[in-house]
Symmetry: C2
Subunit: 436 residues, 2 copies
Amino acid sequence: MADILVKGGHVVTMDPQRRVFERGSVAIKGDKIAAVGKEIKEKADVVIDARGKVVLPGLINCHTHLSMTLLRGVADDMPLMQWLETKIWPIEKNLRAEDCYAGALLGCLEMIKSGTTCFADQYFYMEHVARAVEEAGTRGVLSYGIIELDDPKRRESELRAGEKLVKAWHGKADGRVLTMFGPHAPYTCSPECLAKVKELAKKHKVGIHTHLSESQDEIKQITEKYGKRPVEHLDSMGFLGPEVLAAHCVWLTEEEIRVLRERGVKPVHNPVSNMKIGCGVAPVPEMLAAGIPVALGTDGAASNNTLDMFSEMKFAALLNKVHKLNPVAVPAASALEMATVNGAIALGLGDKLGSLEVGKKADLVVVDLKKPHLSPLHNIISHLVYSAVGSDVDTTIVDGKILMRERKVLTLDEDKVLREAQKSSDALLARKEDKK
Amino acid sequence: MADILVKGGHVVTMDPQRRVFERGSVAIKGDKIAAVGKEIKEKADVVIDARGKVVLPGLINCHTHLSMTLLRGVADDMPLMQWLETKIWPIEKNLRAEDCYAGALLGCLEMIKSGTTCFADQYFYMEHVARAVEEAGTRGVLSYGIIELDDPKRRESELRAGEKLVKAWHGKADGRVLTMFGPHAPYTCSPECLAKVKELAKKHKVGIHTHLSESQDEIKQITEKYGKRPVEHLDSMGFLGPEVLAAHCVWLTEEEIRVLRERGVKPVHNPVSNMKIGCGVAPVPEMLAAGIPVALGTDGAASNNTLDMFSEMKFAALLNKVHKLNPVAVPAASALEMATVNGAIALGLGDKLGSLEVGKKADLVVVDLKKPHLSPLHNIISHLVYSAVGSDVDTTIVDGKILMRERKVLTLDEDKVLREAQKSSDALLARKEDKK
């Protein structure tokens, strides 16, 4: 007897054989997948009719700043430094715990409604993001954003804040909340700080979530300061390893790609953010060809402006095609891998998430195909990557619990979350204006 | 007494002052806009409550091949010539009138549900596309795709087919169906053919819809054949003029941009298609800076794979930013102009469509903001371009008639349209396999 049976859909397993079952089913017991396949006779307490729908692993957003949903649309179309210095940073100075909580709840709601079941986050007041994840029922790998700017005092307090989150929240909420250390970037964290992070991550057996080689400015700054490009700089101090989740990785030489592969670093592609801020195009086809399991992320809503991983898959496939003037550069199947199995591997959760296989966590979503833009049906993978958007998701299940059914979110009061987010965002921007 | 009053929304007029009214209203009488503004006391037969919603001009898709919705997802991730020669063209050989009708109805349904109220089309069996537009209640500028390949006999029959459509349908369906001549491209139409098209368009006082400078292959082919690049080639025979709607315009020199501006040619940017086929990036910022009212199009669903103009606006803004490594290259406001006022100008309908102004046609859409990805609200234009997708459209009005209200389409049987499209598409692909 299963708890939940998702029945009669097109099941896109993303298992090692990449099997797709027509009229397939997925049985869930507790927090795990108990059976996947064509003929599942098992009965279940709850049966979800998936006929005319696609059942796929929940999407994994490997780089975001969830609470920045509060800043959606607040500042667009600006050069990076002007955007940060005149808009984002002055506002963030006035952030309060309750803002981060309200923004994180809004982000969780958006993810549930657009088929993302797990995300990697780096921001501030992370214990309040953890509370939101616990409440929403979703899954998050959270890190406190360490920015020390070569200041030994600040280093100490930042590292303490990072460690506090790990100690308090790693493995909590039935294991749905995991943690990492989050040194912001090589240009905001000194070698001393990064060495200490590496040590702490090893001690606590958690990963490290950082930004790497995002803009040409960064390359210039690091090269001037350390006489080495960012990847070389981090490698020379022994920082790079398989536990490092590296967002962006836009500006890489061939040699740097080789180093990332050899060290087992996990790059996260963020096409929309890279496009919006005008940073550049990551060498995704080269990294994939080198056997690196590139993951996918939306980055924060301030530079996207959504958390829609379906849209992000389309951007990933299309941006890399036009950049290479090569329509096969990143095919649809690769984009879907980036958003599922590669995401799981990048978070060190390849044995638990990313595909519909017996024994893995029951994190899955159902996409309704009965829409004009998803008709006619000839190729499910193509539809998921090139035609679907987040709002085509009908049902979202995380850890064996139904978080959304027929577009109704069961764990959160949607109206209240929207209202509180607007209130918090308005208050935050007003505080900013007070200080001008 | 108005027929319809759309009341209490954020009204994005796109008028020459680009006014946005908070809690504004739009009154409609017959097929026209009777009033726009903050305080409209008028009563109306039908009142649409737009509180918490955005009211904006219906989006204008200036380049598509509507019936190609039938080929959505049939062939992706292939080089252009292989895609055309092994997939698209063999299938199109087997197209029948009823397929084009079924595909066009599906396309109309998708457009209505995603906020597009007018489109420019070029394909085959266009009288059946016209029937679909008439039935769906939307607005279309239709052209028969003339391909003569230097064959005088074929030229004659193709021109006849083009003229037949213009004679039969221009101004029909209460003026919702307009027509153009549709010479496919400089590499599929000889100078003799193009000269004749120019003459016929003048005679019938209609525009000309063509493809221009889409790929590097085209530039090479035309340069080899005529000793001139495509724009120069067309200009040397006096073909270019303000009535020419030119899709793509990807590969242009500075001099060619100058020529397009001087002749008043109307380029249509198709970012998603250009990305997916790996063609390149059109010099949109340069064209806009030169004062050219660049329009926006999705191209056919086989190379997109949707007709969602909200998504297309985001791609237009973002692609041009990353291509120039400049986050201000195409701001949100420009993308929205491309999809509204510029589209109207490009179709020669600048006095009738593209903005919410008294006396213009009542073509408008309402977007529901009560969604996590559209919260909080600080900047409506940003949300429309960077966050909204077609399925956020709540209500669609064309020519003063409500085509969709609260996501329910009133003019078409949605289930039937989806069913018939699948049937037609399956039959079309089966016919293809028979002939192998």
